[in-house]
Assembly symmetry: D2
Homo-oligomer: 265 residues x 4
């Protein structure tokens, strides 16, 4: 079974480059399950229901997010428009599972592919250099007790390499994949850990690489140089789709191989 995970789609340039590539990747590589991190899909800040629909139309089964999930408030209504046990699209947009209990939305989606293959997708957020949230390690222990699927994909939205690498080892042999998002730079450490868990510290951004992590570079440089506030706008130049392709066993949930993709114009 093959899983394609597409990193933080950033603004219109990111959406455009994903639209350009994703269909042929899915077809040529025989992808079964498509997961896209959409936290920056709307101009770099959050995701709207319309953009979520657009990404589902491109073949996504599940959309993950991260710290930008609430930037567009209408996404909250969208996520809450269906009940927890629904399998409709709004239910398949998830936010980090270790947000405090009672937060809108859900942190896990369990589904079944047309071929009958069960799977689960979990979104988690780190705590080092980020906002305080519930312990992601303990949260995973709790979630794994309730999840039925053998194929389990974890999008760990975190800043510090230490926390991401540590969670990878912690879950090795217990989930199919732990793949990082949030730093917007793809790392070259994708591999299958000894226990059979696919791992990559960060899959990287699907967006404009002539930028500072998605934003117009002159605007970010002004911020660094002056310390003064200023509007951040999504850049357009050098768009690339960053993704990780994972091959795994649908019965055991163990990963065989990983392959990094970085597809430009």
């Amino acid at each position: 079974m093959r899983i394609l995970f597409v990193g933080d789609v950033f603004g219109s340039a990111g959406r455009r480059i994903v639209r350009e590539h994703i269909a042929h990747v899915i077809a040529e590589r025989g992808v079964d399950l498509v997961i896209i991190n959409a936290e920056n899909a709307a101009g770099g800040f959050g995701c709207t229901p319309a953009i979520a629909e657009e990404l589902f139309d491109l073949g996504a089964h599940v959309l993950t997010t991260g710290n930008h999930v609430w930037d567009k408030r209408e996404l909250i209504e969208y996520m809450q428009s269906v009940p927890e046990d629904s399998h409709e699209r709004p239910r398949r947009v998830i936010r980090p599972a270790n947000y405090v209990s009672g937060t809108p939305g859900h942190g896990v989606y369990e589904g079944t592919l047309p071929n009958g293959q069960a799977y689960a997708v979990i979104n988690l957020q780190g705590r080092v250099f980020m906002a305080s949230n519930d312990d992601p390690f303990r949260k995973m222990d709790a979630l794994l007790e309730t999840i039925q699927a053998k194929v389990i994909f974890v999008d760990f939205h975190a800043e510090a390499t230490s926390e991401k690498v540590a969670l990878g080892w912690y879950l090795d042999g217990r989930v199919t994949a732990v793949v990082g998002t949030h730093t917007h730079v793809p790392t070259a450490d994708n591999r299958v850990l000894p226990g059979g868990t696919a791992y990559q510290t960060d899959v990287g951004m699907s967006g404009p690489y002539e930028s500072v992590i998605g934003v117009e570079k002159e605007l970010v440089l002004q911020r660094f140089l002056t310390g003064m506030p200023g509007k951040f706008e999504a850049a357009k130049g050098d768009p690339r789709m960053a993704a990780l392709l994972i091959e795994c066993d649908g019965v055991t949930g163990r990963a065989y191989t990983t392959q990094r993709l970085l597809l430009g114009e």
Copy 2:
């Protein structure tokens, strides 16, 4: 002209794997200038004079460091054992240039290769999610007014991808290379920016990859799981040398190509 930059050497496993590979890489790739980040070479915490000598013996021209530079106090005496205008080994161990004026050691080394090629190596430290230091952007402006060499290599020891990418763009066309260190995970974004500056967000650690960024993974997991203090020890498993090979024009200082290396046992 070819430059080899070896990422944060971590503990004895890191030193051993560098020793195993560096000579044949230098020979086979025709490397002219060898720079090694040594901030974690002594058991993960700093670098001793003896270990610095060991790395120079392996062919290093310059050793860079980072936030761990003062972990072994004897390195201060070593760095101060020769005058500022010396070209001896202790002068070729540098610390971040944007540490406050008056800090022991130097942040820049300018030298000449046997073939007469002049070069400069600069070490800088970031400020996002790190200790307060002088502005690395302004510091670079000041340094570039005084440096004669056309070939200028910058080791930017920083945590946040935004700050590293921003400095890359800021220096594009003004230096030969901006290569990041400190996160201990190699990034897959090495390239030559439009102005001719080689760039990589992080070259990655040269050390044990069966670890959490160099440290025994069980010890780091205990820290994350309990929040309690505990000794950190360098891991040994799965050592790899992470490096970036840069080809550049010795006359103009502009880079042509970059190539990522990750060499295991």
Copy 3:
């Protein structure tokens, strides 16, 4: 009923000034319940069993701590030397209650005074600008469901004024007192909130005020000026005991008045 809360005892100077004053304050003010924050009592870093005994000998009923609780490892054994339902001294040393489940020690102590008055003392730690821990707000909700006593004292060990003030309002009318520790500077905002909860953002350190929050000022200045590591030693000059005296109703647990004490030589 009267409660005396003594702020972070710092080093030998702090212990000495507390020894000098606490007996006469207890006697003259008719104090019923004495709580001392001991996280810095051993040279500024943690607390030993011997020092804990010394503070109990001075009349403390309960010792609270904070982020320095594990600095002296022998305190762990001490805390674990008696069962959870014990009322012996080791059980009356508590650590922040919102540390992850499974952490050594306990975060709450419920006891009874000789006159039959039941009370509870809770220690909590903040998350803003501090290590990640469980949510202190939610933790309080859970604890208050299990605590029988009406008189409930909370030592909130936290950095940011916003988090401390917010917890005060959150618990107003639900506990007897929310008093902050950790910043080592007494605040002038002690008062009884409208719901009857005594509040002070920080009670301040009981230690040497000719210092930088307890440490020899020259050593801290060197750290700020150079960024270089160096040993921190407890200062001795100008010792003062910082405390808050709270008068409350033993039946309802509501506070009537607060009074700040800052007693020097």
Copy 4:
């Protein structure tokens, strides 16, 4: 000579309570020099030219600010509407002096009172738990070499008590007063240090104390409880003017006494 320093004026409630009290304090206490921190005067976020004029009308000689200085962009134009050597009102609104060189506005104002008394006011910002700026310690060294006045007041806008206390000791005997702002809670440690410098870690907010540091408490609690974004609005309840009154020698610039004021309705 007497200096009155009024802490962070917060929103309309803060402006109103300052208007209610400042004239009689100036008159009754014989205040010569009035300095007001105005960084939150406009609804909690920055200061407008109209509000600056309002505060000058109340008797302020100089307005200091802090990290919120750029929240209202029109203040930049106001500050830049007069030349550096002007003594008009726009020149007497200052921002932290250790912002990077080239930042709009100025960090120091040197003036003369009607009675011929020269004075200087310096605004500085801390770096611990705050944005990266130039070193406030070194910046003070540089400024003190150029300032002619003997009476020098420093508003140190900073978060961490350690950094504030350390700067107090660093400047003891070199300036008339080091008074902290930013945490919005008055500290009870006002005193004259041995060298003759008046010191207080934080003068506290002049604003609504039925709030979380100025903001409606329910809104801040929601933020802490849910982690979700939401509009912050200035509170109104329980307004108080927090200030420090300093008596000093106009010739030597040394302070004699300090007195804390916290004046409600």
